[in-house]
Amino acid sequence: MADPAFIALSVITVIGAILALEAKELIYGALALGLSLSGMAGLFILLDAPFPAAFQITVYVGAVVVLILFTIMLVRREKWMQIGEKVAIPGVAGALAIVLGFGFLAYQSGFINSTGKENVVSSISVIGDQILSAYWPVLLVLALVLTASIVGALTLSKVEKE
């Protein structure tokens, strides 16, 4: 039950997330976000899913955190947002309520008691087959969303030039 690797990764993820919100220096906040996301990748590895773990790091740490850092350094405004105590407490309470609610639902559904061994998909070729056969509408929708966002970005950049 109490797997030390799981506990360590959870602590890294949660502490990283808290630091990302609370760090005085924005840069440290962004780095802590990267730490938190790396912890998530570690959790994926514990779930026997190295492929999502690698892409979690490539996309979120490699691209998203880097873009956030880039923006922070270009804007370079130290105190552009005041964090009040009033906002924090209801926010934390709400988040706890949501997490506990979902946790309760998951517990009720009997998901925890199933071993899950029979559904383990660890090979990429199996994932590829599944995406191209059973889940092809999802792939299509994802491709459409990406195309639409690329077209949108191109249009925006054209507008800015003129």
């Binding site: 190295p50 492929f51 790091i57 490539t58 740490v61 490699g62 880097v66 090979s123 990429i124």
Partner: protein, 401 residues
């Protein structure tokens, strides 16, 4: 003893060397033969029955008896990570690469120092560099961010070393044989711009900061062509496992099947490694040394070693993907197939490294807007063409899968 002139200095150094030589056996041998066996349980080494503590103590008297212990030790993961395909090996190659690079450039540009320092062809130059770096004071700018500044060299080293873990030197000598090795390589590579950027920010100085921003700008332009050109190899091999990718190339290296992808990957790799003509983040005439400007003493030494370890690891990745990894004609007797594989991998990797060094002596730096244009306008297009070539080749069944 005060040091007043150069002779005193030499005397002092010799004295220190003498006492180190006298005392080090007293410390190192007990460490190897008594502390190590007790640590073996910690690092997960299983010594089989016949070897026990008595044998280890006997090995103190007779060095020949330590051979079976060392053979057992060489089979462990700890050895793989720390010594052979891992860190020590890479650091040795990295140091050698620094020497080769200086000599090559010196030959190309007729520089005197690296050609004649030391008795024979300037071989003592890296040792002189190391002594200089160790002797220098570590200076941290007063308004720098101390924590981040101290972390940078070690973070760079950790990320460079992580790459070593997945590049297979031979079928046996690979630290971790992952199913998704290629994707993991890109995941590790995506940490480098963060390090450059944070180094630039932590130094609190304008040149490192500009260097860090340029590192990011450069990443935006080469990262996607790099990924896409490697995708062609994955399509051909039908796997993301680096060992399997090499095994597919046993008859024909992918360089001959995918010359276009190899060229795109090579160019993007040069940009990833920040080598001339893509050394915008550490442009010497403009930015002093880019994001490494404020590093001094051994902090700079560690950062520089990390850069060269990364250089070796990525050249090894190119060898793995396009040059057929450890395959090559058998030049040693057949019972030494493993050594043969290691030799071929090393020779190919060194050849790639030298090929990447040559432009440093001959080419000028690319302009930053042209870099972006080349990355997105040319390399990306060529990478897509390359993927379609790979698919056609697979459909025609030219390469055995």
């Amino acid at each position: 003893m005060p040091i007043e002139n150069f002779e005193d200095f030499i005397k002092r150094v010799l004295e220190i060397v003498f006492w180190v030589l006298v005392f080090s056996p007293l410390v190192i041998f007990p460490l190897i033969f008594i502390v190590l066996p007790s640590m073996m349980g910690l690092i997960g080494i299983m010594i089989p029955g016949p070897i026990g503590v008595n044998d280890i103590l006997a090995a103190l008297a007779d060095p020949l008896k330590s051979i079976p212990i060392m053979t057992e030790f060489m089979k462990t993961d700890f050895f793989k990570i720390a010594v052979f395909p891992g860190f020590t090996w890479a650091a040795l190659i990295a140091t050698g690469a620094i020497l080769i690079e200086r000599k090559l450039l010196a030959k190309m540009q007729l520089r005197v120092g690296p050609l004649y320092a030391g008795k024979f062809e300037g071989v003592l130059q890296p040792i002189a560099d190391l002594l200089k770096l160790i002797a220098k004071e570590i200076i941290i700018p007063r308004r720098a961010d101390k924590l981040a500044f101290w972390c940078i060299p070690f973070a760079a080293m950790a990320v460079g070393g992580a790459l070593l873990a997945i590049v297979p030197v031979s079928k046996q000598w690979v630290v971790t044989n992952l199913d998704v090795g290629l994707v993991v390589a890109f995941a590790i590579m995506s940490f480098f711009p963060i390090i450059a950027l944070v180094a630039g920010w932590a130094s609190n100085s304008k040149y490192p900061f500009l260097g860090g921003l340029r590192a990011l700008h450069q990443m935006v332009s080469y990262e996607i062509p790099l990924l896409l050109s490697a995708l062609g190899v994955a399509v051909l091999a039908g796997s993301l496992n680096l060992v399997k990718i090499v095994e597919t190339q046993s008859s024909i290296p992918f360089l001959l099947v995918q010359p276009l992808g190899a060229i795109v990957f090579f160019i993007a790799l040069m940009a990833e490694l920040e080598r001339i003509p893509f050394d915008l983040p550490e442009a010497e005439p403009e930015l002093v040394a880019g994001w490494m400007t404020e590093m001094s003493g051994m902090l700079f030494g560690v950062t520089q070693l990390a850069v060269y370890v990364k250089f070796y690891a990525l050249a090894g990745l190119f060898t793995t993907l396009y040059l057929g990894g450890w395959y090559g004609p058998q030049i040693l007797p057949p019972e030494m197939a493993e050594a043969n594989a290691v030799i071929w991998f090393t020779v190919k990797t060194l050849a790639v490294m030298v090929l990447m060094m040559v432009p440093r002596g001959t080419m000028t730096r690319i302009r930053i807007d042209l870099m972006l244009k080349a990355g997105w306008g040319r390399l990306l297009f060529l990478a897509f063409v390359n993927i379609f070539i790979a698919i056609v080749v697979v459909q025609l069944g030219i390469v055995p899968r």
